[in-house]
Point group: C2
Chain length 351, copies 2
């Protein structure tokens, strides 16, 4: 392994970025100057989003590899561009590193970043590399475009609109629970082991049959395909958001900003088989996991009721409810017909 200080800041940036090839005509100049230089056509709107991820708060390096972390860090930002109905074109990447990291670690991180960017046609155009006195901090800014006037906000939902969600929910959260459980088991075994032989004999957890949950937690996929499918079907959603903090929390954002209420149906919430099995095994409420788990990075959107048939024909999109007038509030209708008021029990990083 190689010490980062042997390269210095500029050397490290150069090492990590020198093989980057720019793909987009909207990118005039990437890494290597005071700014990246971009060029967007007049008929486009430019979308900008940013996220700051802190070790020990947003990720745990005891179970996520740096390559997965690079991939996920990029993906969560690309997801925000798709959530506006846009196409991401560039990202900048800033990282603050503590001494425990080596050049090879950063290569792994960049491999993950590049994998995500290549899959989504995105250029890495700049950033900052510096040191941290404690863990790793990652800040990514994504930039994208959409046709002028076509950005999809959270505030456009109207009464009678249909509420739709892509993919399935709760799996990333159950993946997180699984990893946390296995981490605890592992540490207990380490503690109990008295000899080297005993330590060597500690088995790695067996995740077979749970691969989907781990993938959803460690390698989320931003839904570019859904944005394209909506365009191709001629559907312009009235509102859209990505599911990062949990379905409840995102629905409340849409309803609050659109000044309306909603009803969604428990039986319609899309849940994968592995998610259901894991919730059962862990004795957790499945609907709660799907409603409040978060990190699904699926798209939640509303469409006019006239688009009902078009939505029915869309692959991997499910109609889960409808928008009501504001005075009716926001509620989940359970399988037995009871109404439960939605609450944002999503993850609060400030608590």
């Amino acid at each position: 392994m190689s010490e980062i200080s042997t390269l210095g800041e500029f050397g490290l940036i150069k090492h990590l970025t020198e093989k980057i090839e720019l793909k987009n005509p909207q990118t005039k100049y990437g890494v290597g100057d005071d700014c990246a230089v971009l060029s967007y056509n007049e008929d486009k709107e430019v979308l900008v989003t940013t996220d700051l991820l802190m070790e020990g708060v947003h990720f745990d390096l005891t179970y996520i590899t740096l390559k997965h972390l690079g991939y996920k860090s990029a993906m969560v930002n690309l997801s925000d561009i798709y959530a506006m109905g846009g196409m991401p074109k560039q990202i900048t990447v800033s990282i603050a590193l503590s001494k425990k990291f080596q050049i090879e670690d950063m290569e792994d991180f960049y491999d993950g970043l590049k994998l995500a960017c290549d899959a989504h046609g995105v250029d890495i155009v700049g950033g900052d590399t510096t040191s941290s006195r404690t863990g790793l901090a990652i800040s990514i800014t994504a930039i994208g475009e959409t046709e002028k006037g076509k950005a999809i906000y959270r505030n456009g939902a109207r009464e009678t609109d249909l509420i739709c969600v892509s993919g399935d929910l709760g799996a990333a959260y159950m993946g997180f629970q699984l990893l946390e459980r296995e981490k605890e088991v592992y540490y207990k075994q380490i503690e109990a082991a008295k000899t080297d032989a005993e330590r060597m004999a500690i088995s790695q957890p067996d995740f077979s049959g749970r691969e989907y949950l781990l993938e959803r937690q460690m390698k989320p996929e931003a839904r570019r395909d859904i944005v394209i499918a909506l365009r191709e079907a001629g559907i312009q959603p009235t509102s859209m958001i990505d599911v990062s903090d949990g379905l409840s929390s995102e629905l409340l954002h849409i309803c609050k900003q659109s000044h309306c209420g909603c009803r969604i149906y428990e039986e319609r919430i899309p849940i994968d088989y592995q998610t259901a099995v894991m919730a059962e095994e862990m004795n957790m409420n499945l609907t709660t996991a799907a409603m409040n788990g978060g990190e699904d990075y699926e798209l939640l959107f509303t469409v006019p009721i006239a688009d009902h048939e078009k939505i029915e024909n869309l692959k991997d999109v499910k109609l889960i409810g409808h928008i009501t007038k504001e005075s009716l509030g926001c509620a989940l209708i359970t399988r037995d017909g009871s109404e439960f008021e939605l609450k944002a029990q999503g993850w609060n990083p400030l608590k």
Copy 2:
């Protein structure tokens, strides 16, 4: 003081940003959705730059107030936009907070941010607020514009071009040395004090006659005025960079990327009187402080020799040397005529 957890993430962001008024026609939508939405004319290029600032590495809260820190965090990013010859229009602001911070602290930080943004006509359009297990992390992305084809890179300097720098150098570094010295004195007094009365009697350091040094360290000003003056004088620099890591380091960036060498003259390096006095008092080499101190946020640029007269007439810009062919290397000519090869001894955050 009020606990941040009482507001939660969305509450805190709302509290800090609800009074923000958008100033620029290039800003269509600011804080409050998945992305900010911007609109740039076709005859412009979009500039993007980002910085990640970590407590204990880039700033020390024992002597910088959060208001100053907010101001400085914005300013160092705006400086990168000016360094391309552009005008900043938007910033996004992400902060990760540990538990020691209260709502009022964040209000102070935002007051500083807003002060900087108002002075430079910049909109705060988004960001992220989250928690940190340790200190404060700040990530700012600045976005700006320049006329198409007019962005000033680091790689355009040519043999015989004149090297110019705005303002004066080394003052921010001497301000830093002064603050570090007084911090040490203060801690020694605290340690030595045995009673409350003795602790109460510890005097605050007297900074009179050093105000300029402190201001340069804590409240740097990005040189918008110089970019405007250059445009008005009809000068298009062949290369430009801002002095964040020290004059030597920045000159080497320009020369390396432009494939040329340079000669600069010690006697021409602009230095303020207070900087000189402080260096003398601290027994430090004044030229070294000016060459390698960093954090000046002045603009360093090159112009064709034909612009000599125009440059002479520019207020607050000094001609310090000229560009040579690459084989001659980069050197400082001292007052006695000796040549010293330039070395990037600027601050390396990764060491």
